[in-house]
């Protein structure tokens, strides 16, 4: 690794830190300034409420509260949940993160795999019905909301596999809508992951197709053909390798998209991941959890972006920071 690369990584890490600070403070200040809190529902009044607030440090000014949060966060302690009383947030969030990563990772593989495959085929068959079909599927991909796809999937499963029925509904339509245990098995994972990955795969298809069409015009593709390489080799080794550069550039936004989608998907399928936790926390005023999840996701995106930048240098040897 060159000096330049190290400097670059340093800058990126700095950006991640700045982003984390700005974002966590923003979210912290925003949610803590909201009227109402998690304890209202418990009918606490007067001294009892004051003592609970004091216990959580909620009676202090927001900057002080944030400072305390920050001190904890640096040591990996994101505080305690208001609602699930006494529950430490860090282990909770990490466990849920691992579930979300399993789902999101599967979705990312589907997205990139399917998207690139479709993109390459569409480009190779440019302006044929195959191309039109695949590009139309791509547009449908990023037009149909993931919850629609998920619902459709559930219904189809129920039609195709009426016997495969055990579900929270206890009725005849039966995709197992509740995640069994903490992690899902492949079968359980498949439908949510497809519903989640299909949306972004459309974008990958479109970028891959455009990149391939651009690359196959390049002189080095002509050279590769003039050498007498098999067309499969030309396509994969010479064209696709180069087409992966622009595809890599959307991996960062892709991760953001998948996180957004996972919030929906986890809620539909009852998957105990970060996205579900986030919605629960924000609707039940469990703001320490809200801030914690937000921070974790921001960190995740930062790391993913850094990873993508380093991936660039692997895919394209010309890129050096």
């Amino acid at each position: 690794m060159t000096r330049g690369t190290l400097i670059y990584i340093g800058q990126r890490v700095l950006l991640i830190v700045v982003t984390l600070l700005v974002v966590s403070f923003g979210v912290f200040a925003a949610v803590h300034s909201l009227p109402g809190n998690a304890f209202i529902s418990e009918h606490l009044h007067g001294a009892a409420l004051a003592s609970v607030l004091h216990q959580y440090g909620l009676d202090q000014p927001i900057p002080i509260q944030y400072w305390n949060f920050l001190k904890g966060a640096i040591h990996g302690d994101l505080g305690n949940s208001f609602v699930i009383q006494g529950e430490a947030i860090t282990p909770l969030v990490l466990r849920e993160l691992s579930v979300s990563m399993e789902l999101g990772g599967a979705a990312l593989i589907i997205t990139v795999g399917l998207g690139m495959l479709f993109g390459v085929i569409a480009a190779m068959r440019q302006n044929t019905w195959v191309d039109y079909l695949l590009t139309t599927i791509a547009v449908i991909g990023y037009s149909v909301p993931s919850f629609v796809l998920a619902t459709l999937g559930i219904l189809l499963f129920a039609l195709a596999l009426p016997d495969w029925t055990f579900s929270l509904f206890g009725t005849a339509i039966g995709y197992p809508l509740r995640w069994q245990g903490t992690y899902g098995d492949i079968v359980q994972l498949s439908l949510p992951a497809i519903a989640l990955g299909f949306y972004t795969s459309g974008q990958v298809t479109r970028i891959t197709r455009a990149a391939m069409l651009d690359v196959v015009q390049q002189d080095y593709i002509r050279t590769a053909r003039a050498k007498g390489l098999k067309s499969r080799v030309v396509t994969i080794r010479h064209a696709l390798r180069n087409a992966m550069v622009p595809v890599t550039s959307i991996l960062g936004p892709l991760v953001v998209s998948i996180i957004a989608g996972s919030v929906i998907i986890e809620n539909i399928f009852g998957i105990p991941g970060l996205g579900k936790e986030f919605v629960r926390s924000i609707t039940s005023h469990d703001y320490n959890v809200t801030v914690g999840v937000f921070t974790i996701y921001t960190l995740l995106i930062g790391v993913a972006n850094l990873g993508v930048d380093l991936l660039y240098t692997v895919i394209d040897p010309r890129i050096r920071y």
């Binding site: 974002v23 547009v139 149909v144 619902t151 936004p253 921001t298 995106i301």
Partner: protein
């Protein structure tokens, strides 16, 4: 009958000059022609036109009052009186769907307008003044790219409250960056061109140069980009509603209806079906239209 020629003969050079002068105009005209030839985009425009008509009609007339409870039985299946059936509270789905059109279109177009205003202003400023201003704006843009979009929107809706305008602001906060970056890039390249130099040399104010000269010249890509904001905004709005943080009840909207439909999926499927179809087709139409616009006006993307 051959007429006598009185006009001076046309020479090749004159002819060529005419072609050159027409080139600028024909760029736009070619674009429109390509767009008109794109059947899919055309169909999308027709559909979207109909959608606007439905939205307008829904202001004055719906088969039933959209929020009236008990117009028929809970989960009544589609029938002559209620073509799209009824929901859990016995509200007429068709009426609610019609009113939901207003919400989706408002979210889409409203957000696009906010994104346009914010993104164009920020992008113009960053690109034109460069230096520290640009560095700060670019940092802000990068920070926004580094945070989970939908979660930001969710927090903002909770903080600002579940009003339509607040929702649009919340969605805008997650997608303004692409527009700002696009305009910044366009501005950076345009500000070096002669006609901008000339305007500056003649003492025009920065504001005048930015909005009078640079903005109009960057119009094409900006419009295309704004078109793509609409479906993303509608989708995000539907996500918010689906999670219970969209427009407040009892206001009907597609995302919320779909959410109710999913909840009812073990009893009936029609409740989730119609809003899902409406959303999907509408988003599809906006995307086809946007693709059509881009293919027509961005020659690099020409198939």
């Amino acid at each position: 009958m051959a007429t006598t020629i009185t006009a001076p003969p046309t020479t090749v050079t004159e002819y060529a000059g005419g072609t050159l002068a027409r080139e600028q105009v024909s760029l736009w005209r070619d674009g429109w022609r390509r767009l008109r030839r794109n059947k899919l985009a055309l169909a999308a425009v027709v559909y979207l036109g109909l959608l606007v008509v439905v939205a307008v009609i829904a202001f004055f007339w719906t088969p039933y009052k959209p929020n009236a409870i008990g117009t028929c039985d809970t989960y009544a299946v589609p029938s002559g009186a209620h073509p799209f059936g009824c929901d859990e509270l016995g509200r007429d789905s068709l009426s609610r769907l019609m009113v939901g059109t207003q919400v989706s279109l408002a979210e889409g177009v409203g957000t696009a307008i906010i994104v346009l205003v914010v993104g164009v202003t920020v992008g113009l400023i960053a690109g034109y003044f460069r230096g520290t201003v640009d560095a700060v704006i670019s940092l802000i843009i990068n920070i926004f790219y580094g945070i989970p979009a939908l979660l930001v929107a969710l927090v903002l809706v909770v903080v600002l409250g579940q009003g339509l305008l607040n929702i649009m602001i919340a969605i805008s906060a997650t997608i303004w960056m692409d527009m700002a970056r696009l305009v910044r890039g366009q501005t950076l390249s345009l500000r070096e061109r002669e006609f901008i130099e000339a305007a500056r040399a003649s003492g025009a104010k920065s504001g005048k140069i930015l909005f009078g000269h640079i903005f109009p010249n960057a119009m094409g890509p900006i419009i295309v980009q704004a078109t793509f904001v609409i479906p993303i905004a509608i989708l995000t709005g539907a996500f918010l509603s689906f999670l219970g943080l969209g427009v407040p009840p009892p206001q009907a909207d597609w995302g919320g209806m779909a959410s109710e439909g999913v909840a009812a999926i073990r009893y009936v499927t029609h409740i989730v079906t119609f809003p899902s179809i409406a959303l999907s087709v509408t988003l599809l139409a906006f995307n086809f239209f946007g693709d059509g616009l881009r293919d027509a006006f961005d020659p690099r993307q020409k198939r």
